[in-house]
């Protein structure tokens, strides 16, 4: 896979992920809705460059191997940062959210322990079988779900329902540090998710990497944005803290066209599985390579932690603080870390005696 292909993947995936706005620039450009994903794609592509460059610099090498080559004795710090972020992102960010959505919409009388256990068990099944099984399953899901998303997106953007999304958006969004940080972290996370396990396979089978990345990130991104686009354009302009805003996504579906929301909800289940299973598989994969822990054992322990943390009741303030915390952590782990690793790798592994051209 060439660098340009990788850049294209990053750009497309970033284009489809959570809205992110630069208020002034957005206003200057006329406030068109499509400007927002375009801007975030540019920022995301730059931020994710570290992961891409690192993958290109060490084809066939695992993340653990690259970290050791780049950081030497400090590799453990980098790996710990990435592992903790990937392993805990699912329960803190996604599973908790999904369980609240499920409880508030379809299963109000069912214990969240039961719904959580079902999703965690399903995710553990894939994670225990390895990252390859996870990525292949994602492809199957994409094969089934993506046509549905494409149909909905077409309806949304072409506007047969007279929702007018190609027209100017009704409001602009005040920019905040959280937006900026999350946008960078989300890009890095999405890429890390796709790259971590498939890294060693990237050199030989680029299509696996390509399809897994596209399908997972497309699903995550489109599903987050789509209900807003379809049903509640005003709320689209108020996205600030993505995990909390996902709840407003559900509200948006309630007030929207009722016959559509089951479909979007079902796709939500698929997307949540992609994130939770991907987190478990990715973290188990790193722990296996790094510490030699059996993959299924690591996945089992992480699945239990995921389930327990998902049941932890958190106040809104705490959730906002955690989002900020994880944004910073994620930014350091999957944006700053890979960039640093790539630079160190270049410095450490520049062939001796290499002569730079002098004008």
């Amino acid at each position: 896979m060439s660098s340009w292909q990788l850049w294209t993947i990053v750009f497309i995936s970033s284009f489809c992920v959570t809205p992110f706005s630069f208020v002034t620039l957005h206003r200057e450009l006329g406030g068109h809705v499509w400007v927002l994903p375009l801007l975030q794609a540019c920022v995301g592509t730059l931020a994710a460059a570290g992961v891409v460059l690192l993958a290109r610099a060490a084809p066939g090498a695992s993340l653990v191997e690259v970290a050791r080559r780049a950081f030497g004795p400090l590799a453990s710090v980098f790996l710990l940062g990435v592992t903790v972020y990937v392993a805990l992102w699912a329960p803190v960010g996604n599973l908790t959210l999904l369980l609240r959505i499920v409880q508030s919409t379809t299963l109000p009388y069912t214990s969240t322990w039961m719904t959580g256990a079902a999703l965690t068990a399903c995710s553990f099944y894939a994670a225990a079988l390895g990252y390859v099984v996870f990525s292949r399953t994602t492809e199957v899901l994409a094969f089934i779900l993506l046509p549905g998303i494409v149909v909905l997106a077409t309806i949304a953007y072409l506007g047969p329902l007279h929702l007018g999304y190609l027209s100017q958006s009704p409001a602009t969004v005040p920019i905040s540090g959280a937006d900026f940080g999350y946008a960078l972290g989300a890009r890095g996370f999405s890429l890390a998710l796709a790259f971590l396990g498939l890294w060693p396979r990237a050199a030989g089978r680029p299509w696996v990497l390509y399809s897994a990345t596209l399908s997972s990130v497309l699903l995550i991104g489109m599903l987050f944005v789509l209900p807003h686009l379809l049903f509640a354009q005003p709320s689209f302009a108020l996205l600030e803290f993505p995990p909390l805003n996902a709840l407003s996504t559900v509200n948006a579906t309630y007030i929207g066209i009722s016959s559509f929301w089951p479909l979007t909800l079902i796709i939500w289940y698929g997307v949540s599985w992609v994130v939770v299973a991907g987190s478990l598989a990715g973290a188990a994969h790193i722990l296996h390579l790094w510490l030699g822990v059996p993959r299924h054992l690591a996945a089992a322990v992480l699945a239990v932690i995921t389930l327990v943390l998902s049941q932890w009741t958190k106040s809104v303030t705490l959730q906002e603080d955690m989002v900020m915390f994880w944004t910073v952590w994620g930014y350091l782990a999957v944006v700053v870390g890979p960039w640093t690793a790539w630079l160190l790798l270049r410095l450490r592994e520049t062939p001796a005696g290499r002569v730079h051209k002098v004008a």
Partner: protein, 503 residues
Amino acid sequence: MQGRNMLSDLAATAQRLEQTLQRWIAEGWVQPFSDTAWLKAAFASDDLTLQSVVTAGGSLEVAYLAPQIDVTLLNSDVGAPLIASSRSDPRRDLPNASFVTQRSDVLSALLQGKAAVFKPGAPDAALVDVRVDRSRSVTQPTTEASLLGPKVAFNEDLTTSLNLVRNLLATPALRVRQHTIGTLSRTRVATVWIDGVTAPELVDEVLDRLSKVATDTLLSSEDLAQLAFHRSWTPFPTAQRTERPDRVARALGLGRIAIIVDGSPFAILLPVTLGAITKYLEALFGPPVTVIFVRWLRFVGGFLSMVAPAAYVAVLSVNPSLLPADTLVAVAQTRAGVPYPVLFETIGLLLILDMVIEASQQAPSPIGQTVTVVGGLIIGQAAVQAHLGSQLIVIVSAVTGIGTLLIPDISLAYAVRITKYPIMILAGILGFYGLTLCLIAIAIHLVAQESLDAPYATPFGPVRSWSLKSYTLMSRTRGERALRPGVYRPVTLRRQPKGGMKD
């Protein structure tokens, strides 16, 4: 003078040889077949027949297993030539006779339907093939019937089955490797592939697995598939079975391997993928547009047969708000008077449906159709009138039953019939949430399977763009014929030049 000396030399040599043989017999190096007591001891069976035949060269003993031989052939190929012969050893006049000196060879030959002729004192036994041919004639396929395709199916005779394949692939590159498996059954098994097309490592893997099979009886290709190629508890078939020689020939042309078992009318095709196993046969013969339409129709039908009952349960028992209010009222009215929860109602009626399908497959053809009609219409109607089920569940059951019949592979149809129950149960507990998770779990299970290192869920996961295109949209002329699927790792990918025409 010189000729006379040669004759005397020859006579002296013969005499020396005879003396040497007698000495070997005396020393126990060679066991003469002068008595047949060892044969009686070896078989100790009433169907072993020993007959004495008086000939010009003395009395001979003929042994055979009565059920294995054709009496007419025995009389014409053994009895008549022996009586007519005037030689000292009349066995030399037997047509197509072979001579063996080992007792084990005699035992194997008798089991294969040969007659053994012993001459007292002689160190060898003559074997003549007089086996009876009780195999069926070549008939039409029963499990893979086709309107437009060939009307030929394998039968239980390995030689006939191989003949049918060779007739379709008249190339010296067609390789057949025969094995004998089963310490008691001594079943002949043939592995077939095309040299230069099938990956050598694939052939080695199959031959290696077959060589490791250790069993006493091997009576069907299903037994062999279970022993050699089935590694997990999956209900999904990990070997494709077919009774059609044309399907075997096409598979071999794609770089796959066929295994034919003597005594079984089904060949095994390996490696197997979900794409291959769900490809219905008529797709090979119909016009492209029809093929695409029917392929999708069958795909949707098969999917519905797995999901429709669970969706019915999920909507009515857990997520009724998914339905518009008018529809919900209408559905509720159909269930008026039904005392059971939706889940029990659905499981009960689908179990009856599965029993009906099973009974119709077991019963003779005319009765089978009657069973289907009786089961499908009369029992369903009676259940509704007795308030044991709603009218809607009868429709759902009908869709499920018809969808199951649309699945091209009978083993896959069984797997779908089984998996719909856990999906239904989870949908009854967690609604669409449970249904979705269950489908994802099935997807995980499928992609985790491999058949001789080929990903089982190909072309869906991992996505193989060309195969997927060929499977879902492209016509057979442009898509399927141009290249061989890479998942089988064929030696050469291209099957024909672009456009399928010579320059």
